[in-house]
């Protein structure tokens, strides 16, 4: 490769507070347009914003989780621009003195680890929404819903430390996992509660100086982030190869065509004339709030994955799947606690349970099946009370009904007979009923073994434990 790409990401994460950043309007998604707005978030004259404490706590938690230094004092600023989704004519954000700085996180890439720097995390308010189409058919107008105006966001700005689209996606996934683990953002990219812009430039391999960057927007899935970055890297390389210049600009990703295209509209818009928001005092976070946030930090995805691999000796793949959400990881750990069998538990939770949940489009939280019931089932297989094959059927019914396995097994009459004395009795009767076959077997016709197994199964209506039957038959036929 003659060129290398330099990628930095700006992520906007919507915080899961009940009310907005500076007023008491609800943040609920999907309500009737303009029913969650008030004088403050509509920017009426003479109103005063008051900062939501929970939003600050959430932002502090994220800062700590990605090793950022919290600034004891940060300043809200007005970012001035005109757009119909911004009723005040400015967005309240943080500029020169953000909430926190100098963090990092580590990603897994190509079998190794790479540290990605996080420049800063700052707090800001979201803008409203322009509705296009969706039954609104008026080509001369746009329609504005301001319910989202003022919903708290954090913006997480990375260092330009990524070199490939795969690294960018790995970083985004790691970031989203942390936000979701902290329960401060739902991480939904399609609904826009987790959004990403990418700054992409290319330079000759080994060059010090950064190339001119383009800012990519409008990528609402990990797949699109990868496609947009790959396209943009190639586009810029082609420009450079042809002796043309990369222009610094904002480019929108067009998912239907798989390309990025220049967004020519905001030529002069980058003059935001930031200044300190006179209606808000500087934010003094205070040691108490930071300490409380630190104490309530949960075990984060990375640490949990590592612990699962060491403590439970399960493969890294299993550990990755099982720690995808906190709820799933907790569920799995409850099964393990009850069974003492990490790998078997992983097979049931990761294999059967996740398969069924996926079919229904559900999460582990919506599932009627309790971890203790899975543990009971694993116990029954271990004791030989049911076969692995029967267990799968029982599991499906457990999943559907939420009932424990014992009742299902009894109702279906599918108990496996593993009791050796009981099986010995059955086998004795089978052998007595077929003296000729026994003689032929003993004189060398060993293929008849399957016949005896079949007769035993018939006699027990298929409920005999096959391993036990094999063992007892071999002993008895040996004479």
């Amino acid at each position: 490769m003659k060129y290398e790409a330099v990628i930095g990401l700006e992520v906007h994460a919507q915080l899961l507070t009940d009310s907005k950043l500076f007023c008491g309007c609800s943040t609920r998604f999907g309500s009737e347009p303009n029913t969650q707005v008030c004088q403050i978030c509509l920017g009426m004259p003479g109103v005063l914003p008051v900062l939501n404490k929970k939003a600050v706590e959430f932002a502090v938690k994220m800062s700590l989780a990605v090793n950022c230094r919290i600034n004891p004092r940060s300043i809200f600023a007005r970012k001035n621009y005109f757009y119909p989704d911004l009723p005040k004519g400015y967005q309240v954000s943080q500029y020169t003195e953000p909430l926190s700085e100098h963090g990092h996180l580590e990603i897994d890439i190509d079998g190794g680890r790479k540290r990605i720097g996080i420049t800063r995390i700052h707090m800001e308010e979201d803008a409203g929404k322009l509705l296009h189409g969706e039954g609104i058919e008026d080509s001369n107008f746009s329609f504005v819903d301001l319910n989202r105006t003022g919903v708290p966001l954090i913006e997480i700005v990375s260092e330009p430390d990524m070199r490939t689209s795969d690294e960018a996606v790995a970083y985004l996934k790691a970031l989203r996992d942390i936000l979701v683990y902290l329960r401060i953002c739902d991480g939904n990219m399609e609904e826009g509660s987790f959004r990403c812009d990418a700054n992409v430039s290319v330079r000759l391999m080994g060059a010090e100086k950064l190339g001119t960057k383009a800012e990519l927007k409008n990528m609402n899935s990990f797949k699109y982030v990868k496609e947009a970055i790959d396209y943009e890297i190639q586009r810029q390389i082609d420009l450079v190869e042809n002796g043309e210049k990369v222009v610094q600009e904002t480019r929108l990703f067009d998912a239907s065509k798989g390309i990025t295209a220049s967004m020519r509209s905001k030529e002069e818009a980058h003059d935001y004339r930031y200044f300190p928001e006179p209606d808000l005092l500087p934010l003094n976070v205070g040691a108490k709030l930071v300490d409380q946030a630190r104490e309530t930090l949960p075990e984060l995805p990375e640490a949990k994955r590592a612990r699962f691999i060491t403590d439970y000796a399960i493969p890294p793949y299993d550990a990755g799947v099982l720690t995808a959400t906190r709820e799933l990881a907790d569920y799995y750990e409850e099964v393990v606690k009850a069974t003492g069998e990490p790998k078997v538990s992983s097979n049931w939770v990761m294999g059967e349970l996740l398969r069924l949940l996926k079919e229904d489009g559900k999460d582990v939280g919506d599932c009627a099946l309790k971890p203790s019931a899975i543990a009971d089932l694993i116990g029954m297989i271990k004791k030989g009370a049911i076969s692995g094959k029967m267990a799968k059927e029982v599991f499906e019914e457990m999943y559907k009904t939420g009932k424990p396995p014992a009742g299902i097994v009894k109702a279906r009459g599918i108990t496996q007979i593993s009791d050796e004395s009981e099986l010995a009795g059955v086998i004795d009767r089978v052998l007595e009923a077929n003296p000729e076959s026994v003689d032929r077997y003993r004189s060398g016709k060993v293929q008849l073994f399957g016949f005896f197994v079949g007769e035993t199964m018939k006699a027990t209506k298929g409920q005999a434990n096959p391993q036990a039957v094999n063992k007892i038959l071999k002993e008895k036929l040996a004479g």
């Binding site: 004092r73 001369n140 107008f141 509209s265 005092l281």
Partner: protein, 95 residues
């Protein structure tokens, strides 16, 4: 610092103001006088003094994360020159 006609046009453009030639001259002069007046402050040596953004004591006033009633939709839209289907209606935004 001196204000030029170009500065006035730039600021007017950012503020979406259409100015006449007469207004441009008027505001260039006015803005120049305002800035010269404020510039007096820079005669004082403030190196080593942190910028003051407020004189109010430093405890941040928070509110708890509680939902309070919003405006009724019709009230929210009452001042809008145009509205339809519960939305503010504005000239088409081209992206």
């Amino acid at each position: 610092m001196s204000i030029t006609k170009k500065d006035v046009l730039h600021v007017a453009d950012l503020a979406r103001l259409a100015l006449t030639e007469k207004e441009i001259d008027l505001y260039t002069g006015q803005l120049q006088r305002i800035l010269s007046y404020v510039e007096k402050l820079s005669e004082l040596d403030t190196s080593g003094v942190a910028p003051t953004t407020t004189t109010v004591p430093p405890e941040t006033a928070f509110r708890e994360d509680r939902v309070t009633p919003s405006l009724a939709q019709e009230d929210a839209l009452r001042n809008a020159p145009l509205s339809e289907k519960g939305c503010f209606k504005v000239p088409k935004i081209i992206e």
